[in-house]
């Protein structure tokens, strides 16, 4: 994780300014008190946060989030919401059924050609939908724990669909 900490590429002023503006707007919305002292404190803390983020290497990983993936975000969110609803209904039925028919399964997904950011998005999306939890990310494979065998099969099916890009994705 700390591999790329040292190398800092050329950080565009657009990214720095974007983060700064985002922080500033959230400060103004949250604070609600507009006295000079507090405004200066807010400005100072926003600048400090941007500097810390740059020092942490936050901007080194953002290059793969392009305009194209931003445009795909709504479709992806919608697809994810539908998946979450489907899988949580399934898990709720499992939990409430008296015989507790679970069959825990571990599957391994291989993600060789993805960047770090897409791997994080993939892992987080899998964990977000109930019934599947990413338990390990090793180099280029994701270990996923599923509550049922059926859930594991559905996951592999979805993964195949994603691979052939028939499913909304971010990249």
């Amino acid at each position: 994780m700390n591999k790329r900490l040292g190398q800092q590429g050329a950080v565009g002023p657009l990214q720095l300014g974007g983060l700064f503006l985002l922080l500033l707007v959230s400060w103004l919305l949250w604070s609600g008190i507009y006295k000079p002292l507090l405004l200066w404190l807010g400005l100072f803390s926003c600048l400090l946060s941007v500097w810390l983020a740059k020092r942490m290497g936050f901007f080194d990983h953002t290059q793969s989030l392009t305009m194209r993936s931003l445009l795909r975000l709504p479709a992806y969110c919608w697809w994810l919401l539908v998946e979450v609803i489907k899988s949580s209904l399934a898990v709720a039925r499992l939990v409430l059924s008296p015989s507790l028919p679970i069959s825990p399964t571990v599957v391994e997904l291989i993600a060789t050609d993805e960047s770090d950011v897409s791997k994080v998005i993939l892992g987080n999306s899998i964990t977000l939908s109930p019934g599947t939890v990413t338990i390990d990310v090793h180099e280029d494979r994701l270990l996923v724990h599923c509550l049922t065998k059926k859930g594991a099969r559905d996951l592999l099916q979805q993964e195949a669909l994603r691979r052939s890009s028939k499913r909304p994705g971010l990249d």
């Binding site: 959230s26 919305l29 949250w30 919401l81 979450v84 609803i85 949580s88 898990v91 709720a92 939990v95 409430l96 507790l100 028919p101 679970i102 069959s103 825990p104 399964t105 571990v106 599957v107 391994e108 892992g123 987080n124 964990t127 977000l128 939908s129 109930p130 019934g131 599947t132 939890v133 990413t134 338990i135 390990d136 990310v137 270990l143 724990h145 599923c146 509550l147 049922t148 065998k149 059926k150 594991a152 099969r153 592999l156």
Partner: protein, 120 residues
């Protein structure tokens, strides 16, 4: 009229969210093993969060409170899986084995008898 419809919608969402919270709590007591309990916690973390926050946002209408609620919801939805992953990975690293079978190429061997009994 639209107010009434929005009201009913938000109450339905809130009640469903409360139900999912309860189901997740029951699941975290009923399910055996740490890794399966993780699933029921994720049930309350995602589905119940989405339902309850959407319900309150509809009640709040278009205001600063709605924006804050949306920000909290997005924050919870992003950090929830991260915390779950950190927890599961810490358990795995410490040597807590998941009591699970591996799904061994179910496509290559669809008539595996050991697997068929679990299929419903």
């Amino acid at each position: 009229m639209t107010n009434l419809v929005l009201d009913i919608l938000s109450w339905v969402l809130l009640c469903l969210g409360g139900g999912f919270v309860l189901i997740g709590g029951i699941g975290s007591l009923r399910l055996p093993g740490f890794y399966t309990r993780l699933h029921s916690a994720s049930l309350t973390d995602t589905m119940a969060t989405i339902l309850i926050f959407t319900g309150i946002i509809i009640q709040a209408g278009f205001s600063l409170a709605a924006f804050k609620l949306l920000a909290i919801m997005v924050f919870l939805l992003i950090t929830g899986p991260t915390a779950s992953y950190a927890l599961a990975n810490a358990a795995l690293q410490s040597g807590l084995k998941p009591d699970a079978d591996a799904l061994d190429e179910s496509q290559a061997d669809p008539k595996n008898p050991a697997e068929r009994e679990d299929v419903e």
